[in-house]
C-alpha cells in the first residue's frame, strides 16, 4: 500500500521548509524512526523520522526546493494491503531501539547550515532572509488552510446582540474577490461570541484596506517591508493572485521607470545584491557599535623578532606536536595576560553599570565563506598554552567549514582581529558589540630597526587597539597596549606577568 508523508510543521506555526538533503532514494528499504530527510525551517535543520516500515516509492520534492507544510514529500510502499501499516510490533527486531536513540540527538537540532549570527546579544537569532526566526511562540498559519465556504446568505446567529458577529467579518472563500468592503480583513477569524463588534474595524480606512486586501503571506510582507516595496504596486502570480517572493524580487529589481538602455547588453553597469544573512547582521552590529561606543584607536609598532623565534621553538616541543602554532597564539596569550592586569579592558558598558568580567571569552574575528564571524574561546584565561593553541585551531577550522554554532559566537568579552593575514599593516577595528576593546594584529614584516644604537633588520608588526572611551581612558588603553607590545617584544615577560 502506498502511503504519503506530508511535510509537518516541526515548529509552532511554521508554514514551509526547504528540503536540504534526502537520506534515502527510491527503492531503499526504510524502517520506523529511520531518518530519511533533512529539512531546514526558519529555525534550524531538522531530520525527519519515518513513521512506517516499507520501501521508498517516490521522492516527491527536490533538494533545495521549498515546500509548504502539508504537502506530500515522499511516498512509501508499506507492503501490506491493509490500511493500517502498524510497524513491527514484535519487538524482536532490535534495530528500532538504535534508531530511536538517534532521535534523542534530534531533540538537539543541527545548527543552521547558513546564515549565521553575528555575536552580540545573548543568542541573538539569525534572521534568515525573509524568514522569521522565533524560538518559541505561535507563528502564522498558512492561508492555505481549508476553509469551508459560508452559505450564501449568512444570517448572523441570533444570540444576544453583543455576541453577534458583525456581518462584515464573514469572510468570503476567496478573499481576492473582495474589492470594496473596507473592513474585510482576509485573516479576520470570525469570532462568535463576545467579539468586540466594531472594535477593530476601522470604518473609512480605505487606503489601508487596500493594503490588507493584497494577498501575501506574512514572510512575504516582511520581505516587502525590508526591500521597501509597496505591496499594492506588485502584481501577484501565486495562488489566488497572491504575491510571492519571486514577484517581490522581480519588482524590487525592476529598473526604475525611465532607465535608458545605454548599458552594454552583456555587462550590467550596476548590480543589486539584497542585504541579508551575515552581511546584514554585520552591518547592524557595526553600526550599533560605531555609533554608540565612542571609539579611540591607538597604534604601536613592535619588534616581534623574539616572538617569532619563540613560535619556532614552541613548534619543536612535544606538547605542540599536533597543533599549529602561529604568532597569533602568543598575541592571544599576551592579551590574556594583560587583561588580567587591567580588567577594565575586558568589560561591558550597560548604560547604568560597567560590568567587569573576570573571565575572558576571547573572540577571534574570522573571514569565512559566509562573511565575517567572531566565534570566541570560552574561558580562554583558564587555558594552558597548548590548550589555547588547540582551541584556536579548532575555532578556525569550524569557522572555515561553516559549522560555527550561534552559541559559540555569543558572550565574547574581547576580540582579536588578525588583519596581517590580509597583508596589511594595521587598521582601526570596530569593537564587537557588547565588548569594550579590540586588538588588530598586523602583518609581520622585516624592517630596518634601531637596536642598541645600530640599524638592524628586525621582524616588526603594528598593533592597533580600539577601545570604548566611555569606560576606558587613554591612559588605561595605552597601558594595556604598551604591555601587550612589551610581551611580544620579549615573550619572557608573559611568564613574568602571569
Amino acid at each position: 500500500m502506498r502511503r504519503e508523508f506530508k511535510l509537518p510543521d516541526v515548529g509552532e506555526g511554521l508554514t514551509e521548509a526547504e528540503i536540504v538533503r534526502w537520506l534515502v532514494k527510491p527503492g531503499d528499504t526504510v524502517k520506523v524512526h529511520q531518518e530519511f530527510v533533512e529539512i531546514e525551517t526558519a529555525k534550524s535543520i531538522v531530520a525527519l523520522p519515518m513513521p512506517w516500515d516499507g520501501v521508498v516509492a517516490e521522492l516527491m520534492a527536490d533538494e533545495g526546493q521549498t515546500v509548504d507544510v502539508g504537502v506530500a514529500i515522499i511516498a512509501i510502499d508499506t507492503g501490506e494491503g491493509g490500511a493500517d501499516a502498524a510497524p513491527s510490533e514484535s519487538g524482536a527486531d532490535a534495530a528500532p531501539s538504535e534508531r530511536i536513540a538517534a532521535l534523542a540527538d534530534d531533540m538537539v537540532p543541527r545548527p543552521p547550515a547558513e546564515g549565521a549570527v553575528e555575536p552580540g546579544a545573548h543568542g541573538s537569532p539569525a534572521p534568515k532572509e525573509e524568514r522569521q526566526a522565533v524560538l518559541v511562540g505561535y507563528g502564522v498559519k498558512t492561508g492555505a488552510a481549508k476553509r469551508r465556504p459560508r452559505k450564501a446568505s449568512t444570517p448572523a446567529p441570533a444570540a444576544s446582540p453583543s455576541s453577534a458577529p458583525s456581518p462584515q467579518t464573514a469572510v468570503p472563500a476567496t478573499p481576492a474577490s473582495t474589492t470594496g468592503s473596507p473592513s474585510a480583513r482576509p485573516q479576520a477569524a470570525p469570532s462568535g461570541a463576545g467579539a468586540a463588534s466594531g472594535g477593530t474595524a476601522e470604518p473609512g480606512a480605505v487606503p489601508s484596506a487596500a493594503r490588507l486586501a493584497v494577498l501575501a503571506k506574512p514572510p512575504v510582507r516582511k520581505l516587502a517591508k525590508d526591500l521597501g516595496v509597496d505591496l499594492t504596486t506588485v502584481k501577484g502570480t501565486g495562488p489566488h493572485g497572491s504575491i510571492t517572493r519571486d514577484d517581490l524580487r522581480a519588482a524590487s529589481e525592476a529598473p526604475p521607470e525611465a532607465a535608458p538602455a545605454v548599458q552594454a547588453a552583456d555587462q550590467p553597469r550596476e548590480e543589486r545584491i539584497p542585504v541579508k544573512g551575515v552581511r546584514k547582521m554585520t552591518a547592524q552590529a557595526m553600526v550599533a557599535s560605531a555609533f554608540t561606543a565612542p571609539h579611540v584607536t591607538e597604534f604601536l609598532q613592535v619588534d616581534v623578532t623574539e616572538t617569532m623565534e619563540a613560535v619556532k621553538r614552541l613548534k619543536a616541543m612535544p606538547d605542540f606536536q599536533d597543533v599549529k602554532v602561529s604568532p597569533l597564539l602568543l598575541v592571544a596569550k599576551a592579551v590574556l595576560t594583560a587583561a588580567r592586569r587591567y580588567p577594565m579592558i575586558n568589560s561591558a558598558w550597560t548604560g547604568e553599570e560597567i560590568v567587569v568580567k573576570h573571565y575572558v571569552n576571547l573572540g577571534i574575528a574570522a573571514a569565512t565563506p559566509r562573511g565575517l564571524i567572531v566565534p570566541n574561546i570560552k574561558d580562554a584565561h583558564t587555558r594552558s598554552l597548548p590548550d589555547l593553541a588547540k582551541a584556536l585551531n579548532q575555532l578556525a577550522e569550524t569557522a572555515r567549514s561553516g559549522r560555527t554554532q550561534p552559541a559559540e559566537m555569543a558572550g565574547g568579552t574581547f576580540t582579536i582581529t588578525n588583519v596581517g593575514v590580509f597583508g596589511v599593516d594595521t587598521g582601526t577595528p570596530i569593537i564587537n558589540p557588547g565588548e569594550s576593546a579590540i586588538l588588530a594584529f598586523g602583518l609581520v614584516r622585516e624592517m630596518p630597526w634601531v637596536v642598541d644604537g645600530e640599524l638592524a633588520v628586525r621582524k616588526v608588526t603594528t598593533l592597533a587597539l580600539s577601545f570604548d572611551h566611555r569606560l576606558i581612558d587613554g591612559e588605561l588603553g595605552s597601558l594595556f597596549l604598551r604591555d601587550v607590545g612589551a610581551m611580544l617584544e620579549d615573550p619572557l615577560r608573559m611568564l613574568a606577568w602571569s
Binding site: 506530508k6 511535510l7 509537518p8 510543521d9 516541526v10 515548529g11 509552532e12 520506523v32 524512526h33 529555525k43 534550524s44 525527519l48 523520522p49 493500517d84 502498524a86 513491527s88 510490533e89 519487538g91 524482536a92 527486531d93 532490535a94 528500532p96 531501539s97 530511536i100 532521535l103 534523542a104 534530534d106 531533540m107 538537539v108 537540532p109 543541527r110 545548527p111 549570527v117 545573548h122 543568542g123 539569525a126 524560538l135 518559541v136 469551508r148 465556504p149 452559505k151 449568512t154 444570517p155 446567529p157 441570533a158 444570540a159 444576544s160 455576541s163 453577534a164 464573514a170 470570525p190 462568535g192 461570541a193 463576545g194 570560552k378 554554532q405 550561534p406 552559541a407 559559540e408 555569543a410
Partner: protein
Amino acid sequence: MTADAPPELVQLLTPEGERVEHPDYDIDLTPEEVRSLYRDLVLVRRIDLEAVALQRHGELGIWASLLGQEAAQIGSGRALTDDDMAFPTYREHGVAWCRDVDPVKLLGLFRGVNHGGWDPAEHNFHLYTIVIGSQTLHAVGYAMGIQRDGGDGATIVYFGDGASSQGDVNESFVWASVFNAPIVFFCQNNQWAISEPIEKQSRIPLYRRANGFGFPGVRVDGNDVFACLAVTRQALKNAREGQGPTLIEAFTYRMGAHTTTDDPTRYRVASELEAWKLKDPIERVKAYLFKNELADQEFFDAVDAEAEKLGADLRRRCVEMPDPTPMAMFEHVYSSEHRQLDEERTAYAGYLEGFES
C-alpha cells in the same frame, strides 16, 4: 556553567554505577525494586522519544521532552503513595507514568484534541500546567485542604529552575511555610529556562532559598534515581507527619531542546551536553545492575522489547485519537452550567450552522 556536581549534593549512586553512602539519606532496595526502577526509566524515555517522533511526523503540535530528567521524575514519582497528590508542569511524563496515567493520554493536549486527557481525581495527578509556576499555588491550597480535612496524604508540586523566579512560586513558599502545609516542592533544576541559564535566575543554589522562607531545602543529584527516591520519600514522610514543607532541588540537565519548537544550539555550547551525557540517569542504573549481577542480558533485552512494543502501541493509538467536535470545548470549562456559557454555546452553534457542510 557549573556542570560539576557541587559537594552539597545528595548522591547514592555515582555516574559510574557505584553505590555510595550519605550520612542523612539511605535507601534499601531489593534487586527486584532496582530492576523495576530501571524499567520505568527506560520506558518513560521511550514514551518521550516516541512523542518527539510523532511531533516530527506532524501528529503532535509540540512536545516538551523529559530527556535527561528521567531519574528525577521516576525517583520522586515512585516515592508517592496512593494518598499523595501531585501537581505537574508540562514536562512530567515520568511522574504521570508513576501515577498510572496511560501515556497516550499525555498526547491529547499536544495533539490538540483535548485539554488534558485524564481525570486528576482518579490518578491523584493534576492536569499539566503551562502557566509557569501557577501550580505551586494550587498545590499549596490543596495541601492546606488536606490539612484541614485531616487527610493522610501529602502533596508534591513540580516546577523548574526558571519557575523559581516567579511570584507565584515565592508566594506559595510563604503560604506553605506559615501554614506548615504538608507539601514537597520538587524543583527540577535542569539548568535552563528555555534559553535563560540558571545564572540568570539565582546567585545562590536554589535549595538554599528555602531557608529564607523558614523550611528545609536539600539538593539531590537529579540524575540519581536512588537519591531522588530516598530524599523525596523522606520529605513526603515529614510532610505527612506534620513537619511542614521541604524544597527539593533535583540537580539535573535538560538534554534536549526546551520543546520540539526550540533550537538550543542557538544559546548553548555542545560541550555542555557532552559533559552531562556522562551523567546519564539510565546508564548508571544499568551499570549498577550489571556490576552487581542483579540482572542479566535477558532482562535488558526484555525491557528493550517492552519499550519497542510500547512505542508501536503509542504511535498507533495516537493517530487513532478522535478529533473532538467544536462544541466539546464548552464541556469542561466550568463544573456547572450557567446562562452565559449557554449563550456562548448557542451563538457558536449558530455560527457553525452558517457554513455549507
